[in-house]
Amino acid sequence: MNKELICIVCPNGCRLTVDENLNVIGNKCPRGATYAKQELTNPTRVLTSTVKIESKELGVLPVKTANPIPKGKLFDAMKVVNSIKVKAPVELGQVIYKDICGTGVDLVACRTIKE
């Protein structure tokens, strides 16, 4: 059975077809093939959200998981994200929380907030 997928790696949104041996067609770049195999075996997503920050500039700090995490762990990770409070200054790329939900992936800051 061939499976039809839409690639979500980039905004091109290639329409992929995958056969039972995980051969992929329709991808404009190699990332599409990797995505299709991953999606059918262990789907993952990068989580982007915000954490509370004590700052004069913004109420919340944008954060993301430095790598994709299993799709099934997104809501568990959100519970952790919503419990975090940080204080300015924060540097872009700074690790805000290590190894979120045992995924081995860190939560990092997506912008610099000086004060």
Partner: protein, 420 residues
Amino acid sequence: MLNKDLVIIGGGSAGMAAACSAYDNGLRDILILEKGPFLGGILNQCIHNGFGLEYFKEELTGPEFLTRFVKETEKRGIEYKLNSFVTGISPDKVVTYTNGEEGYVEVKAKAIVMAAGCYERNAGAIGIPGDRPAGVITAGQAQLYLNEYGYMVGKRVFILGSGDIGLIMARRMSLEGAKVLGVAEIMPYSNGLNRNIVQCLQDYDIPLYLSHTVSKVVGKGKLERIEISKVDEKMQAIPDTEISFDVDTLLLSIGLIPNNALLDNMGAAKSSTRGSSVNEHMETSIEGVFSCGNVLHVHDLVDKVVQEAAVAGKSAALYVQGKLPTHEEVINCVNGEGIGYVVPSRIDLDNAEDNIELKFRVRKPTKNCDIYVEYNGEVIKKAYKNVIIPSEMEIMKLPKNLLVSGNGTLSVSLKVREAK
């Protein structure tokens, strides 16, 4: 009165990219005017990822993408003013702005780049039947509240319109614990990117109701309930197809409109994008006034915005340096059958680079078709498309040598191939 070689209106991705490009092409006396408290514009609230894959070959969030351009802008020492709102531009390029520190300021510019982005269509634009309670807001406004201030606007949410901001907000509100009951789209197809249908709706089991619209809003003071109805081919609600949802929030993601009032008031000619009409150098009908980014036509990808803005910035530099002569003879670009708009609206062939980029959108999703570029009625380029959809802007490179100088007309159209 202040004097500047170049004033850029808007310090978002387009404004910063235009400023850096103008600098790199020799201009130094540049001022960016930004109405918000940060450089970066709308990307400040777009905390999701997917930006920069084309430009930086990396997947970045909005804040990460904008930070790179802020660094480039600051590295060049380009002057910018935040919290500074432009109130008008006179025909002789005097830009008036106000801010809390300087009050009311006039600055005379040799060239202007308009990069003020776009705004959201709101409830008033579509006349939703029923009450007028609190809780009906645009998706982008909800995004600002949530992603910059940390305020949730509601707990039970319905979304009207399947534009990308609506889809992104469906996921964002779900992750933050809201129940998103559905998305209604009046068209028979989605207006968002395919990847967003998958990762924002399907991932969270949020139903997408195509050919449906909100037919009733109910609530005294605060939104209590909405009804959606199926629509016929004329987009009219069909009786007895109502589905009711108890919600406290209705998010609207029903389109973006270029925020182009400043240029309209200057008398710049308009195009079918609702932005200004520009030539291949992004110059409007007013000499020395350029336009780029979402104020010109609404883009899907910021990567394309910064590329377009770089052209506008370079052109502004050439203009100030006296290297962008105007010519009487121009080629007019028009949208033919099946095409919503074409940018640029005009080509000044004597100034044009070797390859001219034509940007356009189709009117509806189409399979198995050809894009035809005709010049004075003769087909000069043809490209086959397996699938083409309105939510993805198309870019076609047209070699300059396919055109001959003169007051010609270039048209882009779409023709479906006959089934074999």
